[in-house]
């Protein structure tokens, strides 16, 4: 099928291109042009035409947590947010530690024909941090990387062996840097706000000590490590130095941590109960700056739908996480505007940057690339409200915020999978 997207502002972060023009799509891919009359034409006048977003962390809650969200509701949310590819962490119930589960998830996702789903397999059985999973089998079933989600390996010897084993096959390992014993029992950044509110704290060095361990193990094993959800300024500095040294490391940051800090906890707003915790204003600024200078490779929604009952609890007892698939684009635009970045730069961490980590051809607009595209109105603002979100999770600290950037059309492999009603 031939599709012509006409007269939009074409923004390609991979090349820096930003100009009004047409995009030609044929057989699911972007092409230079075609001679015949297009079977479908989309008028993109006044809209930005960009690569579809790639979100490296979105929980779909299947299998196991269908009462929080279903694959269908979250895939709807993804395309409504302009997300055309997403990687899902293995913390489902049961965790993604067996090829059968991964295979089923991929087939269910494929049948829904919305965003592309890239499962991230469990690094250890049941994420318990004790026995390695059959990584080669899992990779064959479709796992693109291996991770412990929010349950870092406590035993450093197991972590070392897991990284050795993954490196043997060249599998990337995606890990959060958090020392489990230092983080144990904590629910907020160990600082002024937690002290005032009487909340058990997680010190910043819970992250940097674990990151130090990870970097040493990268040196020892040569394992390719992507560090997930940095939350501290010191960790950004450590990654900057590690990259300079030439270590095969990359990292991401959750979009909430780019915009919010411990101050946003206010009077115990459980929507701000996140993993890792929101940290100081200084940390937030370092993360936002690191994303702009490329030290931080990409930003993720860390989408975690939580039902309202689990949030209407005292802060420490509330389930952590925030919904984010539908907020990722506007929050990236907001960050870009704050940093005064050109649009192509503002979108790079969720398109070309994320594609590089994932090792896929999407995330760019050029001949031969998959036609995964988003058309959005960059100027239209909307008020975040539960009824505006398709995700089953309405849990976001941004409720009531006025955000600019509304998705009009989302295209995956040349097919329109979402149109703004």
């Amino acid at each position: 099928m031939n599709l012509l997207i006409k007269g939009g502002r074409v923004v390609d972060p991979a090349s820096g291109r930003d100009e009004v023009g047409d995009v030609f799509v044929s057989d699911g891919h972007v092409v230079e042009s075609f001679r015949e009359k297009p079977q479908k034409t989309i008028d993109a006048k006044g809209l930005v035409v960009a690569p579809g977003l790639i979100d490296l962390s979105a929980r779909l809650r299947e299998p196991g947590y269908e009462y929080k969200a279903t694959l269908e509701s979250e895939m709807d949310a993804a395309v409504a947010g302009g997300v055309t590819s997403l990687a899902c962490p293995p913390d489902t119930d049961p965790p993604l530690d067996e090829p059968g589960l991964v295979d089923m998830l991929r087939r269910r996702a494929k049948a829904l024909a919305r965003a592309r789903v890239y499962p991230v397999g469990a690094l250890t059985v049941k994420l318990a941090g004790e026995r390695l999973t059959e990584m080669a089998e899992l990779a064959e079933a479709g796992c693109v990387a291996f991770s412990q989600a929010n349950a870092p390996v406590a035993n450093t010897q197991v972590l070392w062996h897991a990284m050795q084993y993954a490196a043997t096959f060249g599998f990337p390992v995606w890990l959060r840097a958090e020392d489990r014993s230092l983080a144990h029992g904590g629910v907020a950044h160990d600082g002024e706000v937690a002290t005032r509110l009487g909340l058990p704290g997680i010190p910043a060095f819970a992250e940097t000590i674990a990151l130090g361990t990870l970097l040493q193990l990268v040196r020892a094993t040569g394992s390719r490590v992507h560090v997930c959800r940095l939350s501290t300024a010191v960790a950004v500095e450590m990654i900057r130095a590690a990259k300079k040294e030439g270590l095969p490391v990359s990292c991401d940051v959750g979009i909430h941590h780019v915009h919010l800090s411990e101050m946003d906890l206010g009077y115990y707003d459980s929507h701000c109960r996140l993993e890792p915790p929101l940290r100081s204003q200084r940390d937030r600024e370092a993360l936002a700056a690191g994303l702009a200078d490329g030290t931080v490779d990409c930003a993720v929604s860390d989408h975690t739908p939580v039902d309202e009952d689990q949030k209407q609890m005292p802060f420490a007892e509330a389930e952590p996480g925030a919904t984010g698939l539908e907020l990722l684009l506007p929050l990236m635009l907001k960050w870009g505007a704050q940093k005064k970045l050109p649009l192509a730069k503002a979108l790079a961490p969720v398109t070309s940057g994320a594609a590089r980590i994932l090792g896929v051809q999407s995330g760019r607009i050029e001949a031969g690339a998959p036609a995964d595209l988003v058309l959005f109105d960059a100027g239209q603002s909307w008020r975040v409200a539960p009824e505006m979100l398709r995700s089953q999770g309405k849990n976001t600290p941004f409720l009531g915020y006025e955000l600019a950037g509304r998705v009009r059309t989302t295209i995956v492999a040349g097919n329109v999978v979402y149109e703004h009603p």
């Binding site: 509110l197 058990p200 206010g266 007892e317």
Partner: protein, 316 residues
């Protein structure tokens, strides 16, 4: 951030959740209101009709005898009906959510909820969900706040020392886990105490405690020097032998209040303790029962202060 959830649109006390964020005028109003009530407790007939026809629900998700009892006495002296609910052993064990429990009690026509909960911030959650005519009084939440204890401490200090603006106050012990300490610190700084000190080992002081406006001392002798008021905090049994402290003996040696250490404070210093006391661990018996101790008057004042708070938020 939303406005202060404790105050109504006219800036009056709607709930008492924390001393932090309350203006000096409201703290003074509570202390002034408590003065005549302290007299009521001395009278033959100890009742006043300010809360006649009102229902006070004591909602304790965490065990407590002393605080619950003093709230009960205070409510009864105001002629309220008091219903005690020990929730920790009823609905919570059946899996009912906190808000469901509150909604059910609200349907039974409550006017005041006195809430104690193990989780910091729980009374804020309840206050956000009660009806406009219902009031929440925090009787202790996690490590966060115990505002009526803080107020009775302020009342005691004012009773013995009159003027807050010339005092040096030391708070000694486990500040990390103490809601009493946090409430008192906010009260003292709001009322203009120029020097508030916290004394304890690093393991028992929270991160960035200086940001609350206190001076930190690890050496108790240095910290007690020239103090007007010494507030001892209770050390929980489970914290005595572990990663925070090696032993009760070593703790007492360095942070227990003895007559010799107290001699470093001003000659007319008063000694306070929120109770229950661990004699021989944080305080020596000779000090607890000695001439500087105002620990028992604190309990008596506690009833007057709780009467004042309830009559201000819910009085006829």
């Amino acid at each position: 951030m939303p406005g202060n959830p404790q105050l109504n649109a006219n800036g009056e006390l709607q709930h008492l959740l924390s001393i932090e964020g309350l203006p000096r005028e409201i703290l003074t109003q509570i202390l002034d209101t408590a003065e005549p009530f302290a007299g009521v407790t001395e009278r033959e007939v100890k009742k006043v009709p300010l809360l006649r026809g009102k229902s006070v629900f004591n909602l304790f998700f965490e065990a407590s005898t002393r605080t619950r009892t003093t709230f009960e006495i205070a409510a009864k002296r105001l002629s309220a009906d008091v219903i005690n609910l020990n929730v920790s052993v009823s609905s919570q064990s059946k899996g009912e959510s906190l808000l469901d429990t509150v909604a059910n009690l609200s349907a039974m026509q409550a006017d005041v909820f006195v809430v104690r909960h193990g989780s910091s911030g729980a009374p804020y959650l309840i206050a956000r969900h009660v009806k406009p005519h219902e009031h929440v009084i925090n009787a202790g939440d996690g490590r966060h706040a115990h505002p009526t204890q803080g107020l009775l401490d302020l009342y005691t200090i004012r009773h013995y020392k009159k003027d807050f603006t010339r005092l040096t106050v030391a708070i000694v012990g486990d500040v990390l886990h103490s809601r009493v300490a946090r409430s008192l610190i906010h009260g003292l700084t709001t009322l203009g105490v120029p020097e508030v000190r916290v004394i304890g080992p690093q393991t028992l002081l929270p991160a960035g405690v200086e940001s609350l406006g206190v001076h930190v001392f690890h050496d108790m002798r240095a910290g007690l020097k020239d103090c007007d008021v010494v507030v001892m905090l209770r050390l929980q049994n489970e914290r005595m032998n572990g990663a925070l402290l090696p032993s009760a003996q070593e703790y007492f040696k360095h942070y227990g209040l003895t007559a010799a250490k107290l001699a470093l404070a001003k000659p007319d210093a008063i000694v306070m303790h929120p109770g229950p006391m661990n004699r021989g661990i944080e305080i020596d018996s000779s000090v607890a029962d000695g001439p500087h101790s105002v620990i028992l008057p604190q309990v008596t004042f506690g009833i007057a202060v709780r009467m004042a708070v309830m009559s201000i938020v819910a009085g006829n």
